[in-house]
Symmetry: C2
Subunit: 413 residues, 2 copies
DNA sequence: ACGGGTTAAATCACGCCGTGAGTTGACCCT
DNA sequence: AGGGTCAACTCACGGCGTGATTTAACCCGT
C-alpha cells in the first residue's frame, strides 16, 4: 500500500536540495547561475534553495570569478569540513578502517591483519570497533560529526531478515564461513553511528563509478578481481541489487558445465579458474609459506617464460574472464566494464588485451562494439573509499539531512 | 543539462493521475475510498483527480457496492471502449497483427505467413500495414481511437541511430538478416499512428509480467524459448534495456567455451544447444519437409523412449538451460523466472523439473532458494499481447494523455 | 570621480499542488 | 421521522517553482 515517491510539494524541495547538492559536490565549485543551467531550476528556486543550504551550513561561498563588465559570480561548494565519513573494508587478509572528510580526503587509516582467528565474526567486529576508535582519536574528530560508517564485506548482504530484529542487516559469506551473521546488530553494541553495510565488490563499484574509471557512465559493471571474483552492476546510475541484494555474483557463474570444483561447492565456476586463490593453487609452484599476493606476483613473473605452465594458466584465465565479461555484455549491455581488485590491477596490464579479444569473440558484436573494457583507476584501497561513499550517498540523496546521525539506523548500501 | 524528472508542482498531478489510472486498470473497479487507501493520496486529492479523469472520459462509474448503514461506495474503472491498441508479432514464420480494446480484449487478429520471401524487410512492412488495415476494417474501429501500434521484432532494437532521422528506431536482427533496418521510418510511410517497437522477447516479458506468470514480481526474468532463446529482464518493475537496448541476450551467453557453432557466428552459445532450431537439427530424425514446430513435437514424442538420442538431447538441453538460468539468478537475483515461448511451453512440462534441479546445482544456494522458476501462462500469442501493451504502458505512464495520438512519433518499447 | 552598461542574485506575485478538517449527501436501522 | 454511519465533496492553508522585476556589484569611458 501507499507507495512512496515524490507526492507532496514538500518532496519537490527535497529533490531540488538533493540535485543541487549533488551538482555542487561532483561538479566542483559552481555559481548560482551555472547551477541553474545544469539543474534546470529557475533562478528563483536556485536563490531559495541555495539560501536554505547556506543557512544550514551545508554549503559555503568560496571566492568568485571575475567578469568583464558585470557583477562577478560567487562560487559555492559543499562545506568540506562540515562532517566526516568512515569507510571499512573487511578484506581477505585484513580489516581496514579509514576516516574521511566530506570531500572524501583520507584523514587517517588503520590497517589490522586478520591473524589466525581468520574471519571469526567476533574478532572482525572487534577490529572494526577498535579501528573506528583509533582513527577518531588520532584525528580528534568528534563522533557527532560522523555521518555514518560504510562497511564492505565479503559476502551477500541481506536486509529484513526475519531472525534479526531492529538492526536487520544479515551477511551470508560462504567463502569466509559466515552464515546469516547479524553484523549490524553486533556492531550496534559498540557504536551508535549509522551503519551502511554492503558487499565489498559493490563498494568498490561505488568508488570507481564516482571517482575512478567508471565516471560518467550510466550503465556499467565493475568487476572485483581478487582472491575470488565479484561484481557491482550499475544500472541507470545506481547500484543494482536484485530482490535480495545478491545481484552481481559473477564469480559463481558457469564457464564449464561440470568443470573444476569451486570453493563454493559447485563445479565450473568462473572463480575456480580466474580467482587469485585458484590460480596460485593450480600453479602449485609458489614458494611455500608465501602470501597469496606474493604467490600471484611470482606466478606473473614466471609467466614471462613463454609456454610455461604459468603463462598457460594466465592465458586461460584471460579467456575465461573475457567470456564471462562477454556474458555480462550480452545480459546487461553496459557502456563500460571496469576491472578492479588487487589481482585485477596486478595482472591487468598483461591480461587486458587477451580479455578484450575473448570478449569480442564471445559477445554479440553489436553491444560489444559499444562497450569499453578498462582497468580500475583507484588502486587497492578503493573498497574502503567506496564504503565511505555509502553514507555520503545517503546524505546527498536525502538533500543533506543531518538528522540521520541521531537515527541509530542500519541499512544495506 | 537540465535533467528531467518530477520538478514542478504540475508534475505531481501528472504522477497522481498516472498512479490512480494504473491502480484502476490493474486492480479492477475500485471506489474512491479504496483508491485513496492503496495510493496513499488524501481524500481531497482523490476527489480532484478522479473528477478530472471523469471529465476527460478516461474513467467511468460502474455500479456501486452496498454497505450496512453508510453511503454506498461507487465503483470506478478505466473506460474500456475509450481507445484501442494494436499489437504486432513479427515472428519466426508469420506476422500476426491484433486489435485490442483498452482492457486488452482481442477484437480481431490477422495471421499472415512469411512465405518464401522470408524476412525481407519490405515484405514484412507490407504485411504489417496490410494486417493493420484488415483488423481496423473488419471491426470498423476508427483509426483516431488507436493509441498506438506496438511491434515485437526478432532482433536488437536501438534508438537514436545517427543514420535514421526523424523516426530513429533501428533494428539489428542477425538471425533474420536484418542489419540496421530503419523499421520505424519504413512503417511511417504507411501510417500516422504512434509506433512502439521492441524486441519480441521483451514484449513477451511485458505480457507475462502484467497478465501472466510474472504478475506481482518486481524483479524477474522472462525467457523466450522458441527457435532461438531470448530474455526480458525486469528490474524494479520495469523492463531493463541497458545502454543501447540490447540487454537480455540470453541466447548467446556461453555454456561451453569453444563449443558447438551457433547461427550467430560464435561458438558454444546457449542457443546452439537449447534453441528449437538447434535441437531439431541435432536430432536429425525429424520427418523431412516438416516445420520446426512439427519437428520439435516429433522429437518430444521420440524422447519418451528412454536412452534414445532424443531423450539425451532433451536432458542436455534442460541441464544447459538450467545452468544459464543459474547464471541469471547469480547476476540478477530475481524473485521469479518465467519460461515462455512456443518451444518452452511445448517442452516445459517435461523439462521443468530437470531445469529446476540444474539451476539448484549451479546457482549460489542463497539467491536460488528465493527464486521461483515457472512456465509462462499466456500461450504462444503472448508476444502480440505484450506488443499491444507497449502503447498502453505509455498511456498509463503519461497519466492518460490522449494527445500522443497526434504525435506521429516512434519509440523504443 | 562619476554615470552608463552589464551581469549576478534576490524579491515577489501568480498559479498550482496535496493535506486534512469540516460539510454535504446517501444509505441503513429503529 | 430521526439518529447513526460512511462516502464523497469543499475549502482554507502552507508550500512549491516560475519568471518578470528589482536590487546589487562590478566594468569601463570620460
Amino acid at each position: 500500500m501507499a507507495e512512496k515517491g515524490r507526492r507532496t510539494v514538500r518532496d519537490l524541495r527535497r529533490g531540488s536540495r538533493s540535485a543541487l547538492l549533488r551538482h555542487l559536490y561532483f561538479e566542483g565549485p559552481l555559481s548560482r547561475h551555472e547551477l541553474g543551467r545544469i539543474s534546470g531550476l529557475s533562478s528563483g528556486s536556485i536563490s531559495n534553495v541555495v539560501g536554505e543550504l547556506l543557512a544550514d551550513g551545508l554549503v559555503e561561498e568560496c571566492g568568485s570569478v571575475e567578469s568583464d563588465g558585470g557583477r562577478p559570480r560567487t562560487l559555492l561548494r559543499v562545506t568540506p569540513g562540515l562532517a566526516h565519513l568512515v569507510g571499512v573494508d573487511v578484506g581477505e587478509t585484513q580489516v581496514r578502517v579509514a576516516l574521511f572528510d566530506l570531500a572524501l580526503t583520507e584523514l587517517a587509516a588503520s590497517d589490522q591483519p586478520l591473524s589466525d582467528c581468520g574471519h571469526d565474526v567476533g574478532h572482525v567486529v572487534e577490529l572494526i570497533l577498535t579501528g573506528l576508535s583509533e582513527v577518531l582519536e588520532r584525528t580528534g574528530v568528534d563522533r557527532s560529526t560522523v555521518l555514518g560508517v560504510g562497511i564492505g564485506v565479503p559476502g551477500i548482504v541481506e536486509q529484513d531478515h526475519p531472525e534479526a530484529d531492529g538492526d536487520t542487516v544479515v551477511v551470508h559469506g560462504p567463502t569466509v564461513g559466515w552464515d546469516a551473521v547479524p553484523l549490524g546488530r553486533l556492531l550496534r553494541a559498540g557504536t551508535d553511528l549509522p551503519l551502511y553495510i554492503d558487499n565489498g565488490a559493490k563498494t568498490l563499484g561505488q568508488a570507481e563509478m564516482w571517482f575512478g574509471a567508471g565516471r560518467g557512465a550510466r550503465n556499467a559493471v565493475v568487476v572485483l578481481f581478487g582472491s575470488g571474483v565479484g561484481a557491482c552492476v550499475i544500472t541507470d546510475g545506481a547500484r543494482f541489487r536484485g530482490s535480495t541484494s545478491s545481484a552481481g555474483e559473477l564469480g559463481h557463474t558457469r564457464v564449464h558445465v561440470g568443470g573444476r570444483p569451486c570453493r563454493c561447492g559447485a563445479r565450473g565456476c568462473l572463480e575456480a579458474y580466474v580467482g587469485a586463490e585458484a590460480l596460485v593453487a593450480r600453479w602449485g609452484d609458489a614458494p611455500p609459506g608465501t602470501s597469496e599476493k606474493a604467490g600471484l606476483a611470482a606466478l606473473l613473473d614466471a609467466a614471462r617464460q613463454p609456454h610455461s605452465k604459468a603463462a598457460e594458466l594466465l592465458r586461460e584465465a584471460a579467456e575465461y574472464l573475457g567470456a564471462a565479461i562477454a556474458d555480462l555484455i550480452n545480459l546487461f549491455n553496459p557502456e563500460r566494464i571496469v576491472i578492479g581488485g588487487w589481482a585485477g590491477l596486478l595482472l591487468g596490464p598483461r591480461l587486458l588485451p587477451a580479455i578484450r579479444d575473448a570478449a569480442t569473440d564471445y559477445a554479440f558484436s553489436f553491444p560489444r562494439a559499444k562497450t569499453a573494457i578498462e582497468l580500475g583507476s583507484l588502486g587497492p584501497d578503493a573498497v574502503t573509499l567506496g564504503a565511505a561513499a555509502l553514507p555520503l550517498s545517503h546524505f546527498l540523496d536525502s538533500g543533506g539531512s543531518l538528522s540521520s546521525r541521531t537515527g541509530r539506523h542500519t541499512q544495506v548500501g
